[in-house]
Structure formats: C-alpha cells, structure tokens
Amino acid sequence: MSQIKDALANVGKDMFNAAKTSLSASKWRMVRDYAELEFQNLQATAIKLAEMFATGKITEERAQAHIRLQQSSFKTMLLTVQGVGLAEVEKLLNVAIKAVLSMVNSKVGFTLLRQET
C-alpha cells in the first residue's frame, strides 16, 4: 500500500503547478490558496481509492464517482470567486488533471481520472 502512496505523493503539487498556467496571474492569485488545499485533498482521495481498489473494497465505477464528486464540489467553491466563470474553472481542472492523468491511471491500474468534456 505504501507503494501507491509513494507513487502518488506529488500528484497534488503537480496539479497545482499545472493549473497555474490556466488562469491570468490576477485570477490565479485569488484562487491559488484554495486550489492548493483542494489538489492536496484530491491527492489524498486518489490514494485512498487506489488502496480500496487494490483490496477489492471498491469498484472502478464507484471510485470514479468519488473523484467526480470531489471535482464537482471543487468547482462549486471556485465559482464563488469574483470573475472566475464556469468555463475557467473547468479549464483549470482539466489542465491540472491532464498533467497527472496518465501517471495516476497507470499507477492505480484503472481509469481513475478522466478529463471533463
């Protein structure tokens, strides 16, 4: 189990660094503290789900639903920031997910992360 934890140890940081480029500097300044916290939360959720999947406690479909629920809550929060619209929030999340998607999915052994359409 610690192998999965080690493999995903920098996912939150990588998502955060990738997301920086998706917004203007002024908008990024307004969301960065919360984004940092939330990407760490997504990392912890991904590790937990990967461990549950590895021990047969959760199905692929249910793990994906958990991740999508966390992402949806993240979007709802960011929508309260002045001038940051839904399209920008979705872009931010997509850029962050794209940066770690193949690494995470390969380490956990199934498609846990998907880009939003």
Binding site: L37, I58, T59, H66, T76, M77, L79, G83
Partner: protein
Amino acid sequence: MNTLRRLIFLLAATGLAVGTPVISTSCTLPRLVLVAPYDELTDAAVTDLQKDVLLHLRALELAKDPSEDKYFIAYRGFYRDIDTLITRAASRPKNDIQSQQFAALREQVELLETIHKGRFEPEEIEPVRLAISRTFRAILTLELVKKP
C-alpha cells in the same frame, strides 16, 4: 466588489461566519447589483435540503444494510427539491452562478446515489459528506451574504 467576492469565497472555503452581513451601504457611490438579490425562499429551501442530505448520510453510516430500498427513496425527494431550486434560480435575473451551483449539487447527489448503489463501505461516507457540505456552504454563503 472584488473584495466582497473574495470575502464570500474565503467564508465559503473556511465555513466561518456564514450569514454575516458584509455588504456595506456606507459607500456614497451608487450600488451596482451584479447578482440577483437575496431570496428568503431559496435560503430556507437550501438549509432544509442540507439538513436532509446530511441526515441521509448519517442514516447510511449507521445502517446495518444500506442497500435496503428504504434508503433509496430519499433520492427522489432530493432531486425534486434541487430541480425546484434550479427552476427558481433560472427565473431570477443575474443568477447564473447560483444556477451553476445547483446543477453541480444535483450532479453530486446523482454521484452519491451511484456510489450508494454499489457495495457501500462505511469509510466512503466521510469524503462524500465533506464534499457535499462544502458545496452547501458555498451555496448558502453566496446567498446569505446578499441578505439585507
């Protein structure tokens, strides 16, 4: 308004001081209305729905068998209530943000139902409760900060 929206965000993110009136009327400039005004019915309906959803999660946590039919009946009421809120939000001008928040809330309840339909592990409840609570807090903070 930048400062106000930043404050709304921080209140929602931290869960602090929900309902604190932060709109100052001491400014001598005319007040620009960039979002729909406070709506008491929405406030009350969201508060009731939050209570119902959190009670549902608590019931699932304590249930011997959460796959029993009686635990799935609650979703019908949640969808009905959220759809009513979506319709009300859409009927009010300058209310796009709230409409998007309600659509996200519906998505989250649908995802909860998907998770619930599987073989539900008690340890799955806490992250769901935290995520949905954050969503309700964001919705209510945005509404309550407009309260005159």
